[in-house]
């Protein structure tokens, strides 16, 4: 379709990246560089923190203050989780709309303060849940909502990865990340379950694995119950070895009365044997959900629409992750109080 001849030119959106710690930072930068109508102003760590990373063709600012002086329309928060609150408050005061990495905070209190800051400043807060923009999972959701498979008997979900190291080692720092495998990997599947069934998680049971010498849990299995009575599991373990062909996977099986949905959104891959790697690697040939997520975020900013994934989505999933820790400590089922906002 052709655009109307007299349509006003779309304003160029100025985007900035605050914090460079997150594993997705590099991917976001390479996507932003290719998007028309987007000016990537640059990146910055918190004030006084020198970045240990550089990205080709991207301006590195001395700190968040200098970068926010450039008046970005939108920012992506990619810092260590514990610094989300500070950066969100700064960005909100500067009038920038926010896309924030998951989990949105290390505590519920921080998460609420972030929401207040955005509300006061009148800026949007979107939680970065890229899997909602994955075509396979969108199709899965549609199939479930059509109801053609009958009642759901249960769901098994796994979100495995290798144990974080190198640039990602902070994911295993109890202060910076607020925990280990549970904080890292519980929220994606939790959000997908909520999104599939338009309901909240009511109860959480979790058993965690805490090997000797590790400051955080490296494995965890949760059984959660949704408000609709559905029982679903989440294996959030960092249980793939370092030389696994890929970072890990997110998979689920949804067992229904009339059939089972076996869902592996990362299944579309080639196996690459090359001299650069001692072991074969899996190379995706599927559309990148991160790209679709960034497009949806920027469209919501451009068109003054509510964010397609909300702060509440980030908050509810954080509640589930934190409840897993409580459950593993008490050895019993943890009930989540559904406070209204």
């Amino acid at each position: 379709m052709n655009a109307p001849v007299n349509a006003p030119a779309r304003r160029v959106l100025k985007v900035a990246i605050l914090g460079l710690a997150h594993v997705h930072t590099e991917g976001y930068i390479s996507i932003l560089k290719t998007l028309p109508g987007v000016e990537l102003l640059g990146c910055a760590e918190r004030d006084g923190i020198a970045s240990s990373r550089t990205f080709e063709g991207v301006k590195m600012f001395s700190g968040v203050t200098a970068l926010l002086e450039q008046r970005p329309d939108a920012v992506i928060i990619c810092s260590e989780t514990v610094f989300h609150r500070e950066l969100v408050e700064r960005a909100a005061r500067a009038g920038a709309h926010i896309l924030c990495e998951k989990p949105i905070a290390t505590t519920l209190e921080d998460a609420r303060i972030m929401q207040d800051a955005c509300h006061t400043a009148g800026v949007n807060f979107m939680t970065a849940f890229p899997m909602r923009f994955d075509i396979t999972l969108q199709h899965t959701r549609q199939t479930l909502q059509e109801g053609s498979l009958g009642a759901v008997l249960g769901i098994v979900g796994v979100n495995h990865s290798i144990n974080p190291s190198s640039h990602d080692a902070w994911f295993a720092d109890p202060i910076l990340a607020g925990g280990g495998a549970v904080m890292d990997h519980t929220v994606h599947l939790t959000d997908l379950y909520r999104w599939f069934f338009k309901t909240e998680i009511l109860e959480v049971y979790a058993a965690l694995g805490h090997p000797l010498g590790s400051s955080v849990e490296t494995s965890g299995i949760l059984l959660v119950t949704l408000e609709n009575g559905l029982h679903a599991s989440i294996d959030c373990s960092w249980s793939r070895p370092a030389h696994y062909p890929r970072w890990g996977h997110l998979k689920m099986e949804i067992v229904c009365e009339k059939g089972v949905l076996v869902v592996d959104p990362f299944a579309d891959h080639l196996t690459l044997f090359d001299t650069a790697n001692p072991a074969p690697t899996w190379v995706s040939f599927a559309p990148d959900p991160n790209r679709a997520m960034l497009l949806a975020f920027l469209e919501s900013v451009q068109k003054h629409l509510p964010p397609p994934v909300t702060w509440l989505d980030g908050y509810r999933t954080l509640q589930v992750a934190l409840s897993a820790y409580t459950s593993s400590q008490t050895g019993q089922l943890e009930r989540i109080t559904s406070q209204e906002f």
Partner: protein
């Protein structure tokens, strides 16, 4: 080659599976009895076995009795055979309660006969190889195990399997395999939590086991799929390695379009002809009976697995974590 005279009690899916296995082992004498004489006669005809219309006479004429009856009949049958002084091979689960199981073991000890509980999963080659590697320390210290076993409702979900009072329910009947496996490779379990969902014909359960070593196990188990579909998988993780296997992987020989073999409308895993675990299990049991060597799976293993399974079932019923 075994010289044992084998008498089978029962004429259901497991009786048929065992008949076929005993035939493969070329036993010199094979007979069966079931209160359903017609089915027993058909089966006997198919596998070249004798039919007895009287259990006591069958027990009298054989060296070992292979009990392939529904679980609620195990206690009575084991007591009868033990009193007759014959060795016993009995399908899993050993019984509906640990008390019954211990009584059966005690009766066999008193009577001086041996009791083998057919925990066949330990003879499935992929599970066996994985356990060997794990127990040899190839994975380091075990941390997290995932075990899957989901098939379709036996007999459409309307038979004795569907009655918890007769079968113990899906956890005691089917999840028991993977519970025993987890106990075998990762040791004692201290706490369990489980959820179970049912429709009129289907059952679907998930359990989390916490081992005393600190390892954790997830088990998925169902009579939930459509007829003909049966899937199993294992994923064992230690601090030094990972083992993955799934029945979704292509077998060593594939005939397309493929159809799942169905025996008596009860879901059984696809097996490779070269390494039929049912045959290997019975060969092992027969060998132990003839040589006096110990069984790989002891009656204590069977009771231990049942005890954890009952805790899992109790958790699924109460919605509370249960200490074992």
């Amino acid at each position: 080659m075994t010289h044992l005279r084998v008498g089978i009690l029962g004429s259901g899916a497991m009786a048929q599976t065992h008949l076929r296995a005993w035939r493969a082992l070329d036993v010199p004498w094979l007979a069966l009895h079931d209160r359903n004489l017609e089915t027993a006669t058909d089966l006997a005809h198919t596998y070249g076995a004798k039919v007895y219309d009287n259990a006591a006479e069958l027990i009298r004429d054989c060296d070992v009795v292979d009990i392939c009856l529904p679980t609620f009949l195990h206690l009575e049958a084991v007591m009868q055979v033990a009193l007759a002084g014959k060795h016993i091979i009995c399908e899993k689960p050993i019984a509906l309660s640990t008390k019954e199981g211990m009584a059966m073991i005690q009766s066999c000890e008193t009577a001086g006969v041996r009791l083998y509980i057919a925990m066949v999963l330990r003879f499935f080659p992929m599970y066996r190889r994985a356990a060997e590697l794990a127990l040899a320390g190839k994975l380091g210290t075990l941390q997290v195990l995932r075990l899957k076993r989901v098939g379709f409702p036996p007999h459409g979900g309307t038979s004795w399997f569907a009655d918890d009072a007769l079968s113990g329910g899906i956890v005691v009947d089917m999840m028991l395999h993977d519970i025993d496996y987890a106990l075998w490779v990762a040791g004692d379990v201290v706490r369990v939590f489980a959820r179970l969902t049912r429709t009129t014909t289907q059952q679907y359960a998930q359990a989390i086991l916490t081992h005393s070593s600190g390892a954790i196990t997830h088990i998925e188990c169902g009579w939930a799929y459509q007829n003909g579909l049966f899937r199993t998988a294992l994923d064992l993780v230690g601090d030094a390695g990972l083992l993955e296997w799934s029945s979704d992987a292509p077998p060593s020989s594939l005939r397309l379009p493929n159809t799942v073999e169905m025996i008596g409308a009860v879901p059984l895993p696809a097996i490779s002809a070269a390494s039929d675990p049912y045959t290997m299990q019975l060969q092992h049991a027969a060998h132990c009976l003839e040589t006096g060597s110990p069984f790989e799976v002891t009656t204590q293993d069977a009771v231990r697995a049942l005890n954890v399974a009952l805790a899992v079932r109790s958790s699924a019923l109460s919605g509370r974590a249960v200490m074992v």
